[in-house]
Symmetry: C2
Amino acid sequence: MDTTERTEQALAAERRKRELLEAADRVVLRDGPGASMNAIAAEAGITKPILYRHFGDKGGLYAALAKRHTDALLASLRAALDAPSERRARVESTLDTYLAAIEGAPQVYRFLMHPAESASPGEQGFDVGRHSAPLLRRLGEELAQVIAERVDLGSDSERLARVWGHGIVGMMHAAGDWWLGERPCSRAELVRDLADLLWGRLAAAGDREGGPGF
Amino acid sequence: MDTTERTEQALAAERRKRELLEAADRVVLRDGPGASMNAIAAEAGITKPILYRHFGDKGGLYAALAKRHTDALLASLRAALDAPSERRARVESTLDTYLAAIEGAPQVYRFLMHPAESASPGEQGFDVGRHSAPLLRRLGEELAQVIAERVDLGSDSERLARVWGHGIVGMMHAAGDWWLGERPCSRAELVRDLADLLWGRLAAAGDREGGPGF
DNA sequence: AACACCTTGTTACTTGCGGTAACAAGAGTC
DNA sequence: GACTCTTGTTACCGCAAGTAACAAGGTGTT
């Protein structure tokens, strides 16, 4: 058992794992998040126990699958977030990047965020809540870090940045989710409206008929 | 089959339904959201088919259960939202009401929002995504209506109000979720920070060391 | 050559859940 | 007394997660 062989086998195992993940990806994107382990195994040309050997349980497969997409999304968002432009432009381009991503691959989005929907009834598919949260959490922390690095907040800046990071990510997520379902306006409009909200336009707007007491 | 009897029976059925819901509530809050229909039936002192007669399927039971809590939360939020005070005070008190609610009954909150977590492994319990969304959607629409009614936005005010409604609700939800898990600060601080965010403090803050190009 | 070992793969099983049929029993109605 | 309606039961089906237990091929050791 020399080391070169060990690594070779390990590499082979990782390749295999990637292949399995790609098969799982195809099935999940085709059949929705309720895809059964049997179906995934069939698509990969093997049988269930092998999946379990590689991923432990269904949650493991899900997590591995989610990590791929999550990492890809995070990478593209980081690019927008780290651009050397004005803050408003950065915010708008980040929002737009996110919305373009979920618009371009809504199946992936629904898998990551709402795995229990969009499939034949009788679903009990992948557990959702346990895995959709991590993506949003990571996004929130990432944004918090960028804010803390680049924006001059007084004391308590770390806490403030984290609150805002998670809050903004939540705003983006909820608005994007609603928008993706109803398509009430164009992407550019949504981006502008959300940026306006962050820029305090709600606070600046006047009261309607009847004054502040109404 | 005179009408009085009909209504009496209908009333009895509704009472029964309420009893069943209360039993389901106890079980779900005790065993987590993965509680099986069998367990719920046992808690109610009956057997499964009766549950199915009353609620159709598990989703129906879930929906009925969620509706109770959702309605209660919405009612208390409406009160804060409709108070005759300044806008900032209203926003803060609404945020605080929401956070106090999820802080006071985190089990209920987790059931409504993350039903797949917090139970013994092997969960495939209630479908979550399909039902947590409605609460947030309703909240968003509700807030949108209040904004549209009370805030003077120029043209396109309806769309703007809806975008902001859903966005703000998402912000509140994500920040609350993160805060409930990590408890990084007091409730009052969180409320103030979120209100500051909505008041444009992020946009107003200066860049850190290196100017806008950095 | 024969042995042990590890990896990959299989078939066949158990367990547990959602959901449903089929049947039993009490209570009012004609 | 027969009819029907509601409430309840037991016993079952189907299906998906997860788990032995076993088969076969390559590899190193003696």
